[in-house]
């Protein structure tokens, strides 16, 4: 039972990262290799905000906002001119972005590990089902669930969500209906980047904040979104749960096989349903 809770917390962290990646793909058709770098930048910004304001909560607001702003700029400057071209150019641009973002972080924060403490009240642990579980993990689960709910509500129930869905299914048609597709794309990229910022901030108290943190996490995100079906929030939730639980229960029984098990699950999904488990005609939601 405690394994389930820990698995859930791993899943939520994975989801926060994968959601941005999958949203960006759904709307822009771009696989954002720089998503991990954005997440890392988010963690450093959170560290900086924490150091400046002396608390975790402002960091959880400042870091995603900064990332969203950076996302706007990145989309305008590097991706927008590339939509008409083939995929490899977009991949290349995001590859270049990784190098640039890492350089910026190296110059600003150096190579030292940075540290983020959980907010007061969320430190320490509670005994649940015979195990000690960190309070912060329970918060991560709750927060992740809230983000999922917000994303679903936003995309399924609001006018903005309708516009997003329309623009992702058929950009040309949406444009003729008077939707500013470029603006929608910018906003979605900013939203995705903001989610990376949230992910970085939330991960801060759990994982070391360092330059290579984005490099290792991006593959996990790919796995999650590919399993769920690219561009699909429902799929990302499912993929995150599947991988999070595989990790948690794997640690219980055979930790040294976890990584391979993850890939086997992934390849099995790809072979049976190459487009992912939740691929629908609509790429969003």
């Amino acid at each position: 039972m405690s394994t389930l809770i820990i698995g859930l917390s791993i899943s939520m962290l994975l989801f926060l990262l994968a959601a941005g990646l999958t949203l960006i793909f759904g709307m822009l058709g771009v696989i954002n290799f720089a998503h991990g770098a954005l997440y890392m930048l988010g963690a450093y910004l959170a560290f900086q905000a924490h150091a400046t304001f002396g608390s975790f909560w402002p960091a959880l607001i400042v870091s995603p906002l900064c990332l969203a702003a950076a996302g706007l700029a990145i989309e305008r400057l590097t991706l927008r001119p590339l939509y008409p071209r083939t995929h490899e150019f977009q991949l290349l641009a995001t590859f270049g972005l990784i190098l640039v973002i890492e350089e910026v972080v190296r110059v600003v924060w150096g190579l030292d590990y940075r540290h983020l403490t959980p907010p007061p009240g969320l430190t320490g642990s509670v005994a649940l089902f015979g195990s000690d579980i960190a309070r912060y993990r329970l918060f991560v689960i709750g927060f992740g669930a809230a983000v999922i709910a917000a994303l679903f509500f936003g995309i399924e129930r609001t006018k903005l969500g309708l516009v997003l869905r329309a623009a992702s299914v058929n950009p040309t048609m949406a444009a003729t209906l008077g939707i500013d597709v470029n603006l929608v794309r910018s906003l979605v990229f900013a939203l995705g980047a903001g989610l990376a910022g949230i992910g970085g901030t939330i991960a801060g108290p759990l994982l070391p904040i360092q330059l290579s943190m984005g490099f290792t996490i991006i593959l996990d995100c790919f796995i999650v979104v590919v399993i769920g079906g690219l561009g699909n929030i429902k799929g990302a939730v499912f993929g995150a749960l599947l991988i999070g639980m595989t990790r948690a229960f794997g640690q219980l029984y055979a930790p040294e096989w976890i990584d391979i098990a993850t890939y086997v699950v992934l390849l099995a999904v790809l072979l049976v349903r190459p487009q992912g488990l939740f691929a629908a005609k609509e790429r969003l939601a």
């Binding site: 030292d112 590990y113 540290h115 195990s131 360092q210 943190m213 219980l252 930790p255 976890i258």
Partner: protein, 391 residues
């Protein structure tokens, strides 16, 4: 057809071989420093570089009457890149190779330095093969070996009267080898193994493993993980108060640098230390003063070991009075550093491993000028308890 082409090529090669013979004028002493200056070990490499720089400045950047020129290369925490950069440095005719951090990189570089007959100074990598199965005439280690670290950990467990140990071990060869050796040592000391887990390098969640350990009935937890995983596991362990349930210890598991990354949860973690700035030897006091003046912080264990090894090497080169690499190597193999930062270090001619004392410390809250998490030396082990005699 192809045979003929390669025959012609061979003939060409043979002709061109005749017209070579670079007579080198020694206008500087070139050191090739291969260190991870980026990637997961970037912070370690950067500290080693800083320590090495102090060793050079201490002698006004000169040896044998010529200026010292250091070419630093970033291995990007990748053996592949380390090898690539070393090959290039060797092709530029360096007189000494200095590095690396990861044992795998060091071992791969040793093949190259042996091939090119260039002295190679190792001040951090701990794998036993470096001065054991794969030792070479040209590579020297002035720092600790895994066997030495293991001996300290076993001795620590015995002195702390730990009855049962649980092992969380990074799933790679060095980790597994070290754990196997340690288990054998613990068995001789009547310390039981409560359980073990091998976990991939880069594991992002240790809480299940920590939970398993805390329920295993063990009173000691050996955390044998590397790089960022040290921080991950300790951070997540701190959240569930693991160190209040059992003694947590390991090799290079905690120091001031890691303490900064883990935060207050570090207090009470026990670890071997390769070097500590509080050592009271005169050379160390001088080094710490110079280091603080230059970098405005206390030297880390990586910096200290780098300084110590490199200054020892350069002093030895100086004593030979000439530019013969073979003589340097012979001299170093037979040298004893009476005033190293950690007292006497003696290079063992049999395996090019420096015998030396060992340190064990526990993390405490730093006071005054000290870093927020500071290591307090709790045990000092004599060289005689840590090294088996050379065979």
């Amino acid at each position: 057809m192809r045979m003929r082409v390669s025959g012609i090529a061979a003939a060409t090669v043979a002709t061109l071989m005749a017209c070579v013979g670079p007579a080198m004028a020694q206008d500087s002493f070139k050191i090739g420093g291969v260190l991870p200056l980026s990637g997961a070990f970037g912070i370690v490499g950067e500290n080693m570089r800083r320590g090495a720089v102090i060793a050079l400045e201490e002698r006004d950047n000169k040896v044998l009457g010529k200026p010292i020129q250091v070419i630093w290369e970033d291995s990007e925490t990748s053996t592949q890149v380390a090898v690539q950069k070393t090959t290039r440095l060797l092709s530029q005719g360096v007189h000494t190779i200095f590095g690396e951090v990861s044992s795998g990189s060091t071992l791969a570089m040793m093949k190259l330095t042996e091939q090119r007959k260039v002295p190679h100074i190792v001040t951090l990598s701990a794998d036993d093969r470096i001065t054991g199965a794969d030792k070479t005439r040209y590579a020297f280690r002035t720092s600790n070996s895994v066997a030495m670290e293991n001996a300290m950990i076993g001795e620590f467990a015995r002195r702390q009267k730990i009855a049962k140990v649980y092992g969380i071990v990074a799933d790679y060869q060095v980790g597994r080898d070290m754990w196997t050796a340690l288990k054998a040592d613990l068995a001789t000391k009547n310390i039981a193994i409560a359980g073990e887990d091998f976990t991939p390098i880069g594991t992002k969640d240790y809480s299940i493993l920590l939970d398993k350990a805390s329920k295993s009935g063990a009173d000691g937890l050996m955390l044998l993980v590397v790089g960022g995983d040290v921080v991950t596991s300790l951070k997540q362990g701190a959240d569930v108060g693991i160190k209040d349930k059992m003694k947590v210890f390991g090799t290079m598991l905690m120091d001031e640098t890691l303490g900064q990354a883990v935060g207050p949860g570090s207090i009470g973690i026990n670890s071997t230390l390769r070097y500590h700035f509080t050592e009271r030897s005169p050379r160390n006091q001088k080094f710490v003063a110079a280091y603080r003046a230059k970098y405005n912080e206390y030297p880390s264990q990586y910096a200290g070991e780098a300084y110590d090894g490199l200054s020892w090497w350069l002093d030895t080169v100086e004593t030979t009075g000439g530019w013969d690499k073979e003589k340097w190597v012979d001299a170093f193999a037979n040298s004893t550093r009476f005033d190293s930062v950690e007292g006497v270090k003696k290079m063992r001619r049999c395996d090019n491993q420096a015998s030396q004392i060992g340190l064990f410390g526990t993390a405490v809250a730093g006071t005054g000028e000290l870093p927020p998490v500071t290591m307090k030396i709790t045990e000092t082990f004599g060289a005689e308890t840590l090294f088996k005699p050379c065979s």
